[in-house]
């Protein structure tokens, strides 16, 4: 059984269609990355899946419960971590956890809270107000509170925004540990390195799901060709390439230039004279996930215009 099976979800706010016929399947135990630019409908889609919003159209099951009629049952078995820290800053760490434990009717409360505090390593700071925690600790507390009731599905909305790399790494280790235990995870993110730590990714832009699959599949299916240009005065090369037919992206990467296009022949032609310049070498490169996403973003902007 799939943990998430939704078809043709549509959500409109006024005249704006924020989620536009999104169909998505997530298998149990899978970690799926949900990617897309700001305002692309990631948060809205996640909110629909945890029963916070009712879709205008579409149907589906989350954990086998009907999305439209059984949102209360869904809420009980889903852990949802909001983008912004949304526990009570004027409550202590322990009080926040106790509140969550009581709402989910976990008994005995003290046992659940005590175990969670021990796992977090926050037992000694249990009486500290949550508002005084640093960003990384707030995020860890939020995650711990979300999984205390042992949900079967974890929905994480940009959980690592504003968190330092070490804390991010630890966070992802934790996510993988949980997934090995059978937990399904849908996580939205902006970070490419995080996308690459997911089993599968889905890319959404302006409410439309544009691609889905493993990182390799998404990159392959995008059908992009990438060349790496090396040599002196790359800024001049970049300026010369900009706007040539077939050249869709020119981006400096350290001492190299990545030139990306979807039509290999046109790209070859565009780069022909560049390769003949003095000291400049052009070689085929590997298309990265980021190249693909930037391509997607440029493409969907055209659709909007």
């Amino acid at each position: 059984m799939n943990a998430i099976e939704v078809r043709n979800l549509v959500k409109r706010f006024g005249t704006k269609t924020v989620v536009d016929h999104v169909t998505m399947n997530v298998a149990e135990g899978e970690i799926v990355g949900f990617l897309g630019p700001n305002g692309s409908g990631k948060t809205t889609t996640i909110r629909i899946m945890c029963g916070l919003l009712t879709p205008d159209e579409g149907e589906g099951q989350v954990l086998g419960y009907d999305l439209l009629t059984e949102s209360l049952k869904i809420k009980r078995e889903v852990g949802y971590m909001t983008q912004k820290f949304s526990f009570y800053e004027d409550l202590t760490i322990a009080e926040n956890l106790e509140f969550v434990a009581r709402l989910y009717r976990l008994r005995p409360v003290e046992e659940y809270v005590g175990r969670t505090l021990d796992d977090l390593g926050l037992s000694s700071r249990r009486n500290q107000l949550a508002g005084t925690l640093s960003g990384g600790w707030k995020q860890r507390l939020a995650l711990a509170a979300c999984i205390m009731h042992e949900p079967r599905l974890l929905l994480l909305d940009e959980p690592t925004a504003g968190v330092d790399p070490k804390a991010r790494r630890e966070f992802w280790d934790e996510i993988h540990r949980l997934a090995q235990g059978g937990l399904t995870v849908l996580v939205s993110t902006h970070y490419m390195d995080e996308a690459e730590r997911c089993h599968r990714i889905s890319y959404i832009s302006y409410g439309k799901l544009l691609a889905t699959g493993t990182v390799d599949e998404v990159v392959k299916n995008a059908g992009l060709t990438t060349f790496v240009v090396e040599g002196p005065r790359l800024d001049q090369v970049a300026a010369a390439l900009e706007g040539r037919p077939g050249v869709e992206q020119v981006a400096p990467f350290g001492t190299t230039l990545h030139v990306v296009g979807s039509d290999k022949k046109l790209l070859d032609a565009a780069l022909e004279d560049i390769g003949k310049r003095k000291g400049i070498t052009v070689r085929p490169g590997e298309t990265s996930l980021e190249d693909v996403f930037i391509q997607f973003m440029a493409g969907s902007k055209d659709n909007m215009a």
Binding site: C50, K73, K75, D90, F99
Partner: protein
């Protein structure tokens, strides 16, 4: 591990969690907490002592050119009414005019120089009293007592006690009983009213920001993602303020007795029951506002938008019956209007349940209405 209750709509355990959380937050918010208890006491003392509908000892100026015994008798008669306090003796009309224009005096009493002569001759003596009627309430009491006081004083001064008595006898006698408050003490009217106003102020204001605070801080999203039902969330927000309201009621009732000796004629349980219904309607109104406003600031603005008409049109500040019909009908839509009638009836008149059943019924309708609207509105705010 998953112990899910039979009912998904209501569980005491979840309500308990919400209540506990609310009380902890209330306790941490020291200023608000102090306000809940300090404000009623402060307002009670301030307004209870300050508001007076029948002002006495008002500054007056005397313009008298002669100093005969009739003039003196007149002045002392006016002074003994308690309304006039002759602080100023003006030389002439112009000086008196200036005193009134500047607001130094509320009355100018002019006794003409031929006053004594006319009295002696029985030639229609005249006395001019000019009152500053910019505030009609100030002048009305002082003017209403004037006619009889002046006439009798004059008769007595002329040695016509018998005639005065005769005068009084022969006239139509109007017997006035000022019931429930024979001495016309304003506080007896104001203090029971203040109970309603104070409750309205704190209850509506506190609950109106309850939900918007969660929305503003972003905790609402999390709360909604957890298995708490709209009913539980509403009760969790509203019940703590019922407790606060109960404390305020005790404070105000004790102060009413100790500081203002307001009589308590009726049944305390009946009044407490009425207060419970009233406070419920208030917290639910506040909660309804909370479901409409997007920010705490908006919630406060909506609350104040509601406060002013409810205080002015409920009969707290100005006589309800003095308002035109449309305003009286409008006044009926405020719970405070009905509560004022109840509290004054129970405290001052000793009214029993049947006498106030209609008003309690009206409050009950408010409770049902606000609860219904709040729950409906709440569901919609999910989207």
């Amino acid at each position: 591990m998953k112990q899910y209750g039979v009912s998904s709509v209501f569980s005491f355990a979840r309500l308990g969690a919400l209540l506990l959380k609310e009380f902890i937050q209330m306790r941490r918010d020291r200023i608000t907490f102090a306000m809940m208890l300090g404000v009623p006491l402060m307002q009670l003392v301030l307004f209870g002592y300050a508001i007076n509908n029948d002002p006495k000892s008002l500054p007056a100026a005397l313009v008298a050119t002669s100093n005969d015994h009739y003039t003196r008798a007149m002045v002392s008669a006016l002074q003994t009414t308690g309304y006039y306090r002759f602080d100023h003796v003006a030389e002439n009309a112009a000086e008196a005019e200036a005193l009134m224009a500047s607001g130094s005096v509320a009355f100018v009493v002019t006794i003409p120089s031929d006053f004594a002569r006319r009295v002696e001759r029985g030639d229609n003596p005249q006395l001019l009293i000019e009152a500053d009627a910019t505030d009609p309430a100030v002048a009305s009491g002082a003017i209403s007592t004037l006619g009889t006081v002046a006439a009798n004083a004059l008769l007595r001064e002329r040695g016509m006690e018998a005639a005065a008595a005769e005068n009084a006898r022969s006239q139509l006698e109007v017997v006035v009983h000022r019931r429930y408050n024979p001495e016309g003490i304003s506080q007896y009217n104001i203090v029971p009213g203040l109970l309603g106003v104070i409750l309205q102020m704190t209850m509506v204001m506190m609950t109106s920001i309850a939900l918007t605070r969660e929305t503003e801080r972003g905790t609402m999203e999390n709360l909604l993602a957890m298995p708490a039902s709209p009913l539980e969330i509403m009760l969790g927000k509203v019940l703590p303020y019922l407790v606060v309201g109960a404390v305020q009621v005790v404070v105000v009732l004790i102060a009413a007795k100790l500081l203002f000796s307001v009589p308590f004629m009726g049944s305390l349980p009946l009044l407490l029951f009425a207060i419970l219904v009233f406070v419920l309607s208030l917290v639910l109104l506040g909660y309804t506002i909370s479901t409409m406003a997007r920010t705490q600031m908006q919630a406060l603005q909506l609350t104040f938008f509601f406060f002013l008409p409810s205080i002015l049109l409920s009969g707290f500040m100005f006589p309800y019956r003095g308002m035109p019909d449309w305003a009286q009908i409008f006044g009926e839509i405020f719970p405070l209007t009905h509560f004022l009638r109840i509290t004054r009836a129970v405290m001052l008149k000793g009214a029993e349940f049947p006498a106030i059943a209609g008003e309690i019924g009206a409050l009950t309708i408010f409770v049902a209405l606000f609860a219904g609207v709040a729950l409906l509105r709440f569901r919609r705010t999910l989207d």
